[in-house]
C-alpha cells in the first residue's frame, strides 16, 4: 500500500546514513521541504580515517568530506551544531536543543552511535574516546607531543589507534579484558593472529586483564589494573565499543532496545524509518534475527534503503544484506563479511595465517556464514556473494578447492 504523498521530510543525524538518505530523496525526485539536523558543527565527514590516516597524520580534514558536490543542489534546511532533543510521533514534530520545533510528515532517524564509557572514571585531562573529528584532533595533538598511550579495548578502533601510534614510533600499551583481541567475534585462532601482529609491531598488548582505575592529579598519569600492575601513560583511549544514540528518543513511543527497533523494511513506526548504527532490524538473510551493525557499508546502504522505503511505502522488500567491514592495520587490509558468533566452525581456504595473506570461512548450520581475510579483497567479495546466496558450506569448500 502506498503511503500518502510526503511533503516535508526531516532527517536527524548529519553523518553517513543521514547524508545518503537526503541524497537519495532528492535523486528520487522528492520535491518537498527537506531538513537535515546534526549535533556536530561540521558537514558530514567520513569516520574510518579518524583512527587511520588522520591520526597517523597523513591526511587532513579536507580529505574526509563525504560529499564533494555542492550542498546547494540538495536544497536542504540545514541545522548543524544543533542536536534534536525530543521527538513527538503523535504531533509529528522534532524539537531541537535550542527550542526550535520542526514539523515533519516523514522522518529518518540516523543518529548513529557513541562510545561506551568506563563507569566511575574521573574527568581527567588526557582521557579520550574516539568518535568525532574533534576527538581525533584532540588525540592527534597529544601524539604530536609524544604522548605515551594506553588503549583500553582491543577491538577495531583500539587496534587501529595502536597501529597509528606505532607508525609514529610512540609507545603504546593495549589492555584487553578477554584472552585475545576480538575473540568474541572471530574466535581464538584469528584472535591470536591479531595478537601476534600487534606484538610483532611493538605494541605492549596485555590480554585477560581488568582495569581497576585511571589515576592522576588533574591529568592522566597511570592506569591501575586489578591485581596491582600499573601502566604509566599520558593519554588513555577508552575503546570498549559503542552504544546507539537514542537518548533523545526516550519517551517517544518508539521501541528502543539496543537501538531503534524496526521491521524488516527499516520502518520504526508509520512514516518513521531508521538507518545506520542506530538501527536494529530483523535481517531475513540470517533467519530474521535482530541485528544492529556499526559499519560503514551498512550505514551507507541503509541510508539509501530507508529513503526509498519512506517514499515508496513498500513494506514487502526486506533489507537483508551480508554485513561487511574492513580495517587497516600495519598496511594489512583486514576484511570480514557475514555474521560471526565466535563459535562457528572455521576453515582456512587460501594462503597461510603466518603470511598475513589468507582467507578463512565460517560455517553455521551447514551454510557459509562468514568470511575473513588478510590482504585478499577479491576473495572476500566472492565468498560474500556465496553468503548472500546461502550457499552450503560444502559448496563453499568445493569452490575454494577449485580456486587455488
Amino acid at each position: 500500500m502506498a503511503e500518502p504523498l510526503l511533503e516535508n521530510i526531516t532527517v536527524v543525524g548529519a553523518s553517513l546514513a543521514g547524508l545518503r538518505a537526503v541524497e537519495t530523496l532528492r535523486r528520487e525526485g522528492f520535491p518537498g521541504r527537506l531538513t537535515l539536523v546534526g549535533a556536530e558543527p561540521h558537514l558530514p565527514y567520513d569516520r574510518p580515517p579518524l583512527s587511520k590516516e588522520l591520526l597517523a597524520g597523513t591526511w587532513e580534514h579536507d580529505q574526509i568530506v563525504l560529499r564533494k558536490a555542492p550542498y546547494a543542489e540538495l536544497e536542504l534546511e540545514l541545522y548543524l551544531g544543533n542536536p534534536a532533543a525530543a521527538l513527538d510521533v503523535g504531533k509529528r514534530t522534532v524539537t531541537l536543543a535550542t527550542g526550535i520545533e520542526i514539523a515533519w510528515d516523514g522522518l529518518v532517524i540516523a543518529t548513529g552511535s557513541q562510545p561506551r564509557l568506563l563507569p566511575n572514571t574521573p574527568p581527567l585531562d588526557g582521557l579520550y574516546t574516539l568518535r568525532t573529528l574533534d576527538d581525533c584532533f584532540g588525540i592527534r595533538t597529544r601524539l604530536d607531543a609524544g604522548a605515551r598511550v594506553c588503549v583500553i579495548g582491543a577491538g577495531f578502533i583500539g587496534a587501529e589507534v595502536a597501529a597509528a601510534c606505532r607508525s609514529r614510533g610512540l609507545d603504546v600499551t593495549v589492555l584487553e579484558m578477554l584472552e585475545q583481541p576480538m575473540v568474541r567475534g572471530v574466535g581464538s585462532v584469528i584472535g591470536s593472529v591479531l595478537a601476534e601482529l600487534h606484538r610483532d609491531q611493538g605494541v605492549d598488548l596485555r590480554c585477560s586483564v581488568a582495569v581497576d582505575a585511571i589515576e592522576g592529579g588533574g591529568k592522566v598519569e597511570r592506569v591501575r589494573l586489578v591485581g596491582g600492575a600499573v601502566v604509566e601513560c599520558d593519554l588513555v583511549l577508552v575503546a570498549i565499543g559503542a552504544v546507539p544514540t537514542t537518548d533523545w528518543l526516550i519517551g517517544s513511543a518508539l521501541t528502543l532496545d539496543d537501538g531503534v527497533v524496526c521491521d524488516s523494511s527499516l520502518l520504526a513506526t508509520p512514516l518513521v524509518v531508521a538507518a545506520g548504527d542506530v538501527c536494529r532490524w530483523p535481517n531475513a538473510l540470517f533467519g530474521g534475527d535482530l541485528m544492529r551493525i556499526e559499519h560503514w557499508t551498512n550505514a551507507a546502504e541503509q541510508g539509501v534503503f530507508a529513503a526509498h522505503r519512506l517514499l515508496s511505502g513498500d513494506a514487502e522488500t526486506p533489507f537483508a544484506p551480508v554485513p561487511f567491514v574492513w580495517s587497516d592495520q600495519y598496511g594489512i587490509k583486514i576484511q570480514c563479511a557475514g555474521r560471526f558468533t565466535g563459535t562457528d566452525r572455521m576453515e582456512l581456504v587460501h594462503g597461510a595465517l603466518s603470511d598475513h595473506r589468507f582467507v578463512v570461512i565460517f560455517e553455521n548450520d551447514g551454510v557459509i556464514s562468514g568470511v575473513l581475510a588478510f590482504n585478499q579483497p577479491r576473495q572476500v567479495m566472492l565468498y560474500r556473494r556465496m553468503i548472500a546466496e546461502r550457499a552450503s558450506f560444502s559448496d563453499a569448500l568445493s569452490f575454494a578447492a577449485a580456486n587455488q
Binding site: 557499508t297 551507507a300 587490509k333 579483497p377 567479495m381 560474500r384
Partner: protein
Amino acid sequence: MKIIVDFDKCKSNAVCMGVAPEVFEVRDDNFLYILQEEPTENLRPKMEEAVRTCPAGAIELVG
C-alpha cells in the same frame, strides 16, 4: 557514460566488484581493473550504486 577511478584514492577493497563484477575486477595482485570503461546504459543504476558505496569515494561517473 564513462567510469573514472581515482587510483590514488582506491583502496582495492573490492566493494565495487561486489556491486558490478562485469565492470570492476580486483585481481589476486590486489589491483582494481576496469573491465568496461564505458559501460552500457542499462548498467547505470549499478554504476551509481558503486559510486555511493565505494568507501574511498574513488569512483566517478561522467556523462
